[in-house]
C-alpha cells in the first residue's frame, strides 16, 4: 500500500483532486450550478397549467364599447375581468391547457416602451373600423399571441375549445423539454469541466512557474498530464451522476437506451475534450490568453451545438458542420440513448470519432507542449 501511495502518479492524482475538492467554489460551479440550471430551465420550459400572454391595448375601454363596433374591447368588456386598468380573459381547453390573456390599456407611446422592455409581446390598436396588431413576426411567442387574440376578436373564446377530439397530447417520456435538456447539460458539463479544469489548470501552473519547477525533477511529464486528466474525469463522473440523479428524482428522467453505450460515449467525450484541452494549453502560459482561447473554443459550441435549443433553427448549410462539432456529437448521441432507446451500434461511430479527436489532439499537444 505504501508503495502505491508513494508513487508519483498516485501523489499527482491526489494533489489535483485535493485542489478541486478543497475549493468550495469549484464544487459549486461544477456540481451545484449545473443542477440549478437543469432545475431552472426544466421548470421554466416544462409548461404546466396556464400559459400567459400579455398584450397592450391602445384604447380606453368604456361602457359604450360594443362587440359590434370595437370587437375586442367590446368582448373584453362583456366577458373579461378587470383589475386596475388591465382586462384579463382565460381561454380553456382540457387537452391544450388553459391560456390566459392580459390586456394593458395604455397610450401608443407607452405600449412601444412596454414592448421594448418585454413586458408585452404585442400591441393591439382596437379601432371602430378595424383592428391593427403590432408585433415582431420573428418572435414565436408574439405570433402565437397574435393568432389567439385575432381569433378571439373574430370568433370569441369558443374557437379555442373546438376540435378537442383531434388533439392527442404527448406525455411520453423523452418528448418533454427537460428530456432534451438533461443529455445536453451532461454533454456541456464534460466540455466545460475539461476545458476549464484541464486547460486552465495547466496554464495557471505554467504562469505560477510550478510546472517548470516540477519538470526540473525526475517527474514523468506524461504522469503529470495523465493525473490531471484522471482527476478531472473522476470529477466529471461525480458531476454527471449527481446531475442524472437529480433529473431522475425530480423530473423522472430515465435512460431508455443502453447504459453501456452511454458509458462508452461518456468516456469518449471525456477523451475528446481532455485531448483538446491539452492541445489548447500546450503553448501559452498567460492566463488571459488562455481565457480567450478557452472561450473561443467553448462559446461557439455552447451556442451552436443545440444544448438548450435545437440547432435545426440555424441555416441549413450550417447543419452538417454543427453536427460534427464534438459537443454536438456527444449531446446528440446522449439524447438518442436517453430518449430514443439507442444502443451501442447506433453510437459507435460517434464514440470512435470523439476518441480519435481526443487522441490526435493529445499527441499533437504533447509534441508542441511548452513545459518551461
Amino acid at each position: 500500500m505504501n508503495r502505491i501511495t508513494n508513487h508519483q502518479l498516485y501523489r499527482l492524482i491526489f494533489a489535483h483532486l485535493a485542489e478541486i475538492i478543497r475549493e468550495p467554489a469549484v464544487l459549486f460551479w461544477g456540481i451545484v450550478f449545473p443542477i440549478l440550471m437543469a432545475w431552472g430551465l426544466g421548470i421554466a420550459f416544462t409548461q404546466k397549467g396556464e400559459i400567459h400572454f400579455k398584450a397592450a391595448i391602445v384604447k380606453t375601454i368604456t361602457a359604450s364599447d360594443t362587440v359590434k363596433e370595437t370587437k375586442l374591447a367590446g368582448y373584453l368588456l362583456a366577458n373579461g375581468t378587470k383589475k386596475d386598468s388591465t382586462y384579463s380573459i382565460v381561454l380553456t381547453n382540457e387537452k391544450l391547457g388553459d391560456v390566459s390573456l392580459s390586456f394593458f390599456q395604455t397610450s401608443f407611446a407607452n405600449a412601444y416602451t412596454m414592448l421594448k422592455q418585454g413586458k408585452v409581446s404585442l400591441i393591439v390598436e382596437d379601432r371602430t373600423a378595424d383592428t391593427k396588431y403590432h408585433f415582431d413576426p420573428a418572435n414565436a411567442e408574439a405570433k402565437t399571441a397574435y393568432q389567439l387574440i385575432s381569433n378571439l376578436s373574430a370568433y370569441g373564446s369558443a374557437f379555442y375549445n373546438n376540435n378537442q377530439s383531434s388533439i392527442e397530447p404527448l406525455t411520453l417520456k423523452g418528448t418533454r423539454y427537460v428530456d432534451f435538456l438533461i443529455p445536453g447539460l451532461l454533454a456541456m458539463g464534460i466540455m466545460m469541466s475539461c476545458t476549464w479544469g484541464i486547460s486552465y489548470t495547466i496554464i495557471d501552473r505554467q504562469s505560477k512557474k510550478l510546472l517548470r519547477r516540477m519538470v526540473a525533477t525526475p517527474m514523468r511529464k506524461s504522469n503529470f498530464l495523465l493525473a490531471l486528466i484522471t482527476a478531472r474525469f473522476t470529477m466529471n463522473v461525480v458531476e454527471g451522476v449527481l446531475l442524472f440523479l437529480f433529473a431522475w428524482l425530480y423530473f423522472g428522467t430515465t435512460v431508455q437506451g443502453s447504459w453501456p453505450a452511454l458509458i462508452v460515449l461518456f468516456l469518449a467525450g471525456n477523451i475528446a475534450f481532455s485531448g483538446i484541452s491539452i492541445l489548447i494549453s500546450s503553448h501559452t502560459s498567460n492566463p488571459e490568453v488562455g481565457n480567450g482561447l478557452i472561450n473561443a473554443l467553448v462559446t461557439p459550441m455552447m451556442v451552436m451545438s443545440g444544448i438548450f435549443f435545437s440547432y435545426h433553427n440555424f441555416p441549413d448549410w450550417t447543419i452538417p458542420i454543427i453536427q460534427y462539432l464534438p459537443l454536438t456529437m456527444i449531446a446528440d448521441s446522449f439524447r438518442s440513448i436517453f430518449n430514443e432507446g439507442a444502443g451501442f451500434m447506433d453510437v459507435w461511430r460517434e464514440a470512435l470519432v470523439l476518441t480519435s479527436i481526443g487522441v490526435v489532439s493529445f499527441v499533437s499537444g504533447l509534441k508542441i507542449f511548452k513545459w518551461y
Binding site: 508513494n6 499527482l12 505560477k208
Partner: protein
C-alpha cells in the same frame, strides 16, 4: 578526473578536475533582440558556496536556468559533474536541487502533501519527508495549507523541496527576496548546516550583499550578461581598494545592486 574534448585546440583532450561540480564554458543566450548572457564561464567546486550578484536584468536567472537545464544555451557548454543536460536529464535531475524565483506551490495542498508530492518524483518515502521538515524547522506547519503559510515559511518549504533528494548542488534563485531579516537568517542557517553536514555546493543569486558576504566562499558580480568581477570577498575588494561590496558594485556598474 574525466576527459573532455576541447575544440579548436591542438590539445585534443584536457583534464578537468572533478572537484568542479559545475563547469560553465563561454555560454551565450539571447531572447529575440536581447542578449541576456554574453559568453560567461564559471566553475563551482564541491562544497563551495558561490553567490551570483547583480541588479535586475543582469542575466543571473537566465544563467542559473541554463545550469538547471530549464533553458538551453545558444552557444557554449555546461557540465554538471562532467555531464551535459542532453541525454543525461534523469541523472542530472537527481544531482541538483533548485528553487526558482517566485514559484507558487498548489494553494490547497498542505505543506506535508506538497513535500510528499515532490518526494514521490524522487521515489522517496515519508521518512525522508519527515527528516526534511525537521531540517527546515517547519514541523508545526505540516498540516497548514500552502496559502496559509507566511512568505518566510513558503521559502523554507521551497528550500525543503530543493533539498529532498540530498542534492550535490543547490541552485537557489533569490531564495530570500522579500523576507524580513529574521526569516532570511533562518534560511542562511539551514544552508550553512547543509554545507557542514553534506558538503553541498551552492549557487545562489541575490540582491543582498550581506547574504553573499555571510554565506558564500566566492562572489561573482554580473551585469548586462557578463561577469564583471569574481573571487573571494577579500580578493574582489582588494582589486580597486574598495571598502565594501556596495562600493565595488557602484564602481563596476554605476548602479546600486537593488536597482
Amino acid at each position: 578526473m574525466i576527459l573532455c574534448f576541447q575544440r579548436n585546440s591542438y590539445e585534443l583532450c584536457r583534464m578537468t578536475d572533478l572537484d568542479y561540480i559545475v563547469d560553465v564554458r563561454n555560454v551565450k543566450k539571447s531572447f529575440k533582440d536581447v542578449q541576456a548572457v554574453k559568453g560567461v564561464s564559471l566553475r563551482i567546486k564541491q562544497g563551495e558556496f558561490l553567490a551570483l550578484l547583480g541588479p535586475n536584468g543582469a542575466g543571473k536567472t537566465t544563467l542559473v536556468e541554463m545550469i538547471e537545464g530549464i533553458q538551453h544555451p545558444d552557444e557554449g557548454e555546461i557540465f554538471i559533474e562532467g555531464k551535459q543536460w542532453k541525454n543525461n536529464q534523469h541523472e542530472l535531475h537527481q544531482l541538483i536541487g533548485l528553487s526558482l524565483q517566485e514559484t507558487r506551490f498548489m494553494d490547497k495542498l498542505t505543506a506535508y502533501e506538497t513535500m510528499r508530492l515532490f518526494a514521490s518524483f524522487y521515489k522517496l518515502d515519508t521518512h525522508r519527508v519527515d527528516e526534511v521538515f525537521k531540517l527546515i524547522g517547519l514541523e508545526e506547519k505540516k498540516k497548514s495549507y500552502v496559502n496559509n503559510l507566511s512568505g518566510g515559511q513558503r521559502q523554507r518549504l521551497a528550500l525543503g523541496v530543493a533539498v529532498l533528494n540530498k542534492p550535490k548542488i543547490l541552485l537557489l534563485d533569490e531564495p530570500t527576496t522579500g523576507l524580513d531579516p529574521n526569516a532570511r537568517r533562518e534560511i542562511w542557517n539551514i544552508l550553512l548546516d547543509l554545507k557542514k553536514e553534506h558538503n553541498t555546493s551552492l549557487l545562489l543569486t541575490s540582491h543582498y550583499m550581506e547574504e553573499a558576504e555571510y554565506l558564500c566562499d566566492r562572489i561573482v558580480i554580473m551585469d548586462q550578461g557578463t561577469i564583471l568581477s569574481e573571487g573571494s570577498l577579500e580578493e574582489i575588494l582588494k582589486i580597486g581598494g574598495h571598502h565594501s561590496l556596495d562600493e565595488l558594485f557602484i564602481t563596476l556598474t554605476g548602479r546600486h545592486i537593488y536597482e
